[in-house]
Symmetry: C2
């Protein structure tokens, strides 16, 4: 049982974690700290949190007996929030995050801990729950978001085993499976399977929306387009931060993808049906195999 | 009530049309003609069709009293099938297709009709039902596939109004809304909203599947990846044909997309968060607006 959980950023990610723990009676109280009052009021009304503070209100005293502090704010804000937390947070609290990139969060944490010598980095447990929808805000949160999902934990050399265990238990209680990775390996992998697809989907919709024929295009777009572009409805602010935070790995993936697309373009231009079909077949077989494994994992 | 419907290619598209008509008692009998016996047997077993013929069997006599002939074969096979049909098909039948591209089907039809002077092109009604899943074959067919979907009809100058009406009625009976477009406009629009996304999804999965880290990538891919790549599970043969059939329009769309991606790459490389966010915001707003309109259309 977690005593007090403090969630910074009570949106889809932080809010769903709180809801999942409450649904299982696995937390005594949840405190929410956020930027906008309207969102905090949504969170209070939905019983996601028990008390709410705007960032500029006096939430400091809540930190003194916190068990877990979950930073579910955009990646670019982690360092600032950490700097404000560290001087007052309980030495027994585990501090964790839900950022989509890990090397930059680790760097932000190192910088924040360096600025507060009395705090101990052993309590910091970088993590990334692999779940989400294209919606954001407390109103989008739901208790089953993490069921059968993965949460990647990327512990540091300094990380205390008990703190890591506390964070892993929290996510497991939410229904997720926790996996350990190195921060670099995490960032490279998610550049390929998540950040790149988001960029590609944003690019397609932005390109079509800017055309004079945009209205005709959208009128005729069907369910293939719907699924392909679902992630293009995601938060621009959040994805700007993720793209910048994971810039090197993402540029590398973009380059590879563009090279691949150049090959397909050339095959199509010269009417090379066999080459095109071979490429499509590789994709189709891999995708069908993946779908089967993915479904089994979800059971 | 349609008397006799003959479906060439009893897969997801042709099979679902037959099932939808049968579910509404809107057809007396459905004859299926196809390439593989196993798929025809599936179709017989599921009561999609009442009689089945392999392409090399003697299905000619069935054509003499056909009301509608639906060509649901890959685009590249239309001309050959039409050439075999035209000498024997009833003068009163409407002949239509379900091809994903229209200019090439029109060209194939013109060529087939030119080779059979006694046939009358007035009976030919090019069409494209905008529906599908990533699955193919008779076993994937279901009666509600066309409900609230669009079917684009691209009548020719020669097309007889009664034949066009018969085909439109058939699709409306399946639950679809029929819309008229010019073949060129159709091909340009679907290059952008359907053929391009398919190429992009095939490219992503083929690229990742070919990497040494493929297993790690797929293990960590989540629901964003699942939706983005769903269409990469589609039939390589069918999409090879579509890409080749709509080559010019698709190359044009690919070029535009690549240029757009180059801009995003440059923005990311120079760390221009404002430009990236503006692009993502355009996409996100357009996508959210589209989703709302799309959902209302489906009601």
């Amino acid at each position: 049982m977690i005593g007090k959980l403090i969630v910074f950023g009570v949106g889809l990610i932080g809010g769903s974690c709180a809801l999942a723990l409450k649904a299982r009676d696995a937390v005594r109280e949840v405190i929410g700290v956020g930027r906008t009052r309207a969102n905090l009021d949504d969170a209070l009304r939905s019983n996601i949190i028990d008390r709410a503070y705007a960032l500029d209100e006096d939430w400091m005293q809540e930190l003194r007996d916190a068990d877990i502090v979950l930073l579910a704010v955009p990646v670019a804000q982690m360092e600032n929030v950490l700097k404000r937390i560290l001087p007052v947070v309980s030495k027994h609290a585990a501090i964790t995050d839900a950022g989509s990139t890990k090397q930059d969060v680790v760097a932000a944490a190192r910088s924040a801990y360096a600025s507060c010598p009395e705090a101990n980095m052993a309590q910091f447990v970088p993590a990334h729950p692999i779940a989400g929808t294209e919606h954001s805000g407390a109103a989008a949160a739901f208790a089953t978001l993490y069921e059968n999902r993965h949460v990647i934990v990327t512990p540091l050399d300094e990380t205390d085993a008990d703190a890591a265990q506390k964070v892993a238990m929290m996510w497991q209680t939410c229904g997720a499976k926790t996996l350990i990775m190195l921060p670099e390996q995490h960032d490279q992998t998610f550049a390929a399977v998540s950040h790149l697809p988001h960029m590609l989907a944003f690019a397609l919709v932005a390109e079509l929306a800017g055309r004079p024929e945009a209205e005709t295009f959208f009128m005729h777009a069907g369910s293939g387009f719907r699924d392909f572009t679902r992630i293009a409805g995601s938060s621009p602010e959040m994805w700007r931060d993720i793209a910048l935070a994971n810039r090197d790995a993402l540029l590398e993936e973009l380059s590879r993808y563009q090279a691949h697309l150049d090959h397909m373009y050339a095959e199509l231009e010269r009417g090379d049906g066999a080459a095109l079909e071979a490429r499509m077949k590789r994709a189709s077989e891999a995708r069908r195999h993946w779908e089967k494994v993915f479904r089994e994992r979800k059971r």
